[in-house]
Symmetry: C2
Subunit: 243 residues, 2 copies
Amino acid sequence: MLQPHDTASQDPILTEPRLTPLDRLAGSLGQRVYLTLRHAILSLAYRPGEILRKPEICAELGVSRSPVSDAVARLAAEGLVDVIPQAGTYVARFSMEEIREGAFLREAIEVAAIELVARTITDEQLVILRRNLVVQAALLADNDFAGFYKLDGEMHELLLSFTGYRKLAAVSDTAWAHVNRARQLVLPVPGRVAATLAEHRAILSALEARDPDAARSAIRSHLRQLVTYLEPLERSHPDLFNP
Amino acid sequence: MLQPHDTASQDPILTEPRLTPLDRLAGSLGQRVYLTLRHAILSLAYRPGEILRKPEICAELGVSRSPVSDAVARLAAEGLVDVIPQAGTYVARFSMEEIREGAFLREAIEVAAIELVARTITDEQLVILRRNLVVQAALLADNDFAGFYKLDGEMHELLLSFTGYRKLAAVSDTAWAHVNRARQLVLPVPGRVAATLAEHRAILSALEARDPDAARSAIRSHLRQLVTYLEPLERSHPDLFNP
DNA sequence: ATGCGCTAACATGTTAGCATGTTACAGCCG
DNA sequence: CGGCTGTAACATGCTAACATGTTAGCGCAT
């Protein structure tokens, strides 16, 4: 099956393979296409407002339109794309209303979760959290902001998993997706990142004290920080927002 | 296009048209099939654990498999059906864990919402709520439990809409779906329904007083009532629950 | 009689092609 | 020169047929 002159891979200048890593993922084709597209949208490789050409995606991934349509339908249910029947599919633009709603929903879930966790957390779970925070501090010392945000997300995921409920993290992530997508437009401010670490330490302290009220206050003030940093985006990047 | 002897509609004995009302709904075929199937599952017309035969559904609705597959994929994302690749699709059985998780999620959302609403509710919104409660009382007086539950759901929907966030109700409904599906197995206890109305009145009173703490307590105790009534179901209907 | 293996039916995942409606551009008229 | 209209390209929704893996039942050997 040698193809000495593959037509598609011969023009590295014109075609932009974008960010569509080959599918070495698990699950059905539809699932893999969904994960690939979702990552591309959340990482802003596909820009808000941009049109999604299904035939183009089909050719780029080497699959037919059904799994792509399936994936797009799921993304539409999450609000990450807008499908206009018989017209086109577009990457959802940002909307301050959706960002605020996602933040509200995540706060509601995490506040309820941490009130529960503060009463039930075990010593082993506290050890896991402390370990996570140590790594956070190390990454911050190295100015590795990408790594820090990754550990940040893992910490929230850990807190939600400690409730024993398995789907909480998925709902929270879906809500937070819009916020996180917009966050990438904000350059990391070192002082702010350090403050974030301090807020994480406050959350841990409240959990160590098994104090639900303190934990609620800590995580609430932590979550409300970010949205204020996103407000100016609507003015600085008006083309990426809904009219 | 007359068909004097339609083959499919001629055997009212053997075939069970189940609850698949003809699609006089809006939207694309996939959307309408989704709504039809969702209603059938939530109303227990399709019993938990039962197999869903896509070809059967296609024949019954007169559509092809794509819109049905689309609808089933969405139901799977909601956890209402379990798709086993290349094997079969089954209506999700009840699971106490999912019921408790759904109740937890709804409580988290509604508590956060009502704390906000208690501070921002307008007089017009209070009028709408009072009107809803008057109808609830009338339906209770007539022992119209189905109507009462409908108004109950509308009241919660109203409260969430008063936050100004548009998708809260949808998330809450998705979480609550499992609980509501199981609730239909519990016969309505007149005394319990009257107590529910009293709880609704307590919620309204807290909102009239614009007291967030009282509103939170009221809606919390209200939501926690139902789950306790569902606990015995796992013993009385073991065949409808996950192993 | 029972346990194992094979085979045939079946259900889903995927693919290619058709139908329908929208959008954009080019040409024409005022 | 500007606005309108008609046509052509295009994107999605849907349908029908193919490929792949599973399940269940039957038959055979032990």
